[in-house]
Amino acid sequence: MSEDHHDHKPTGIGRWLFSTNHKDIGTMYLWFSFLMLFIGGGMAMIIRAELYQPGMQLIEPDFFNQMTTLHGLIMVFGVIMPAFVGFANWLVPMMIGAPDMALPRMNNMSFWILPFAFGTLISTLFMEGSAPNFGWTFYAPLSTTYGPASTDYFIFGVHLMGISSIMGSINVIVTILNMRAPGMTLMKMPIFVWTWLITAFLLIAVMPVLAGVVTMMLTDRNFGTSFFEASGGGDPVMFQHVFWFFGHPEVYIMILPSFGIISQIIPTFSRKKLFGYSSMVYATSSIAILSFIVWAHHMYTVGMPLAGELFFMLATMLIAVPTGVKVFNWTATMWRGSLTFETPMMFAIAFIILFTIGGFSGLMMSITPVDFQYHDTYFIVAHFHYVLVTGALFAIFAGAYYWLPKWTGNMYDETLGKIHFWISLVSVNVLFFPMHFLGLAGMPRRIPDYALQFTDFNQMASIGAFVFGGIQLLFLYIVIKCIRGGEKATDRVWEGAEGLEFEQLPSPAPFHSFTEAPEVK
């Protein structure tokens, strides 16, 4: 039926609205995520501006709460997750030698739900009363009994995001299981494809639980049920259990694809094969499985029995083992490699070091007795920004620089890329490192004011934030410049690059690739 369109691209707005092409949809996901990065980032700038000095300076406390809530929700669901889905769309079919995703129409729909989901969420800022102001974890009863009227819009938005992610992951799984080129066995797949396969299974397991928990909130708020309402026999602590049953696998959903990206980049610039391919696959799977039995380490202070605290503490510490295997493998891949330091490699190396710092602070918090001190302080904020900004976001930067030449056919500006890297690296540490000290000294998170003695570190963090936020405009410029032209990229792009997308496709990758399945050795 549609055999006649060889390299014919649809034109105009219709190309994007009705697109069923994995590359176009991938591009839209990436741009959407980029836009959300600036919106969520703008909110972070407001937060840091308010925290530049003690006392109330610029905004009302209630607006501060709305900013922390929306910043978290947008960064998690609007930036990191869509960016990875964008990478998956672009790369999974090219890496396994498939002509497109398995379910192209569903692919279109899962993208186009997102603007509506986030439109709904962001519109709450303009509603009477207040936008959601209970933190991105929306604990009951803050979000049920005390939630503003706009909470119902938030619930609807989360439902839409959930539907979009579930459709996206069904698509990824079907593509990987059914569309691989002949000869591409599971254990020959690039690690990025593996990590996405596992991530997609995690999404299918936990996004429905998130949908369930917001549905319970909805009926508690509007239809007289009492899931989380103590007067009706419910229990607000149960909210935390159900939420974190979703929430902990969710944090791995946000990091596993970045493990995949890093595992593609490090071998290329080390000019060596990835060290310990199969141990990488098993480590990723073990992390995914363990993620289901550690959720209560987010809530040590709710008053669990000793046996429960011990179980969750030990299970959490166990996760350090497969994660350690990964870090070891990346380091071993670089060992005695013939290294070069192009921008993607720089971001990848920074990822390994800084993600490990985030991992270590995570290990500290897994220890129940000391977590009672860290709980709900800036130490937690420091920890999850190390794993999500210098972890997931740096991996996204690294991946973008790595594949941009393949996507656009042009090399990005290496000098500007390096500037972007170095300024980001320094400023992100100025931004988040002092937060460790603030947390240990007792500064609570999600509070717009603080005691005088915290001023110095907060000012450092705010200055780091403004620089880090500002320099991302340079990244936007680099991407646009690369799309519009520049030195032509070779088909291989990087000297040490391997994989079907580099070895068997020209740069830029044609609109339709692998209509004939490639040969896999």
């Binding site: 369930g212 026999g233 669990m304 029995p305």
Partner: protein
């Protein structure tokens, strides 16, 4: 073409399985609610005591131990009552039924229906603490200005671990606006 159809069939099969998994996990999210309750009931974690009256068993009293039972009562915000136990603590023998009164008074100008939610601490004591009669088993209505004695009859199981010598029973009264509205409708209709 048949290749393509085969591919489509294969895809459809996987999609069906994955959709089933999605529906299953949505159900699992809801199943966590009763599972959580069952888990708490069995283990007595979370200080939950049974919300049903216990059978009165033949009296089997351990005359060698005293257990101190302390009582507290509190009100959820937006609950315009006064509520406190008549005595703050008593000593009981394990296995012996004991009675304590709570006193509640509605100080608002409206009739209000309330729900009392019990909790026992330490949590481990909860499963050794049974009630044969309690105002928390049903909703309580107080008219404006009305004061009422609310009895609880409880038994501390004689198997309660040796290291527990003090048990605290606490009640929180919640305003139940839905029930209040319902009752006032009925009384209006009766007029």
């Amino acid at each position: 073409m048949s290749d393509q159809n085969q591919q489509k069939d294969a895809n459809r099969k996987v999609v069906k399985k994955l959709l089933l998994a999605t529906v299953f996990m949505f159900g699992f999210g809801y199943a966590l609610v009763p599972l959580y309750d069952i888990f708490c009931d069995i283990t007595g974690l979370n200080g939950r005591t049974s919300d049903k009256a216990a059978e009165v068993k033949p009296v089997d009293i351990d005359m060698n131990r005293w257990i101190t039972v302390e009582f507290t009562g509190s009100l959820n915000d937006n609950m315009p009552w006064k509520f406190k136990p008549a005595v703050s603590k008593m000593k009981v023998r394990p296995g012996e039924p004991s009675r304590v009164n709570y006193i509640a008074k509605n100080v608002s100008s409206n009739s209000i229906v309330g729900n009392a939610v019990p909790s026992v601490s330490p949590g481990q004591a909860a499963k050794y603490f049974t009630k044969t009669e309690c105002f928390c088993f049903t909703q309580q209505e107080l008219k404006s200005g009305e004061e009422k004695e609310m009895p609880v009859v409880f038994i501390v199981d004689k198997n309660i671990p040796k290291r527990i010598n003090t048990v605290t029973l606490s009640y929180t009264f919640f305003n139940s606006p839905a029930a209040t509205k319902e009752k006032s409708k009925v009384s209006m209709a009766n007029k």
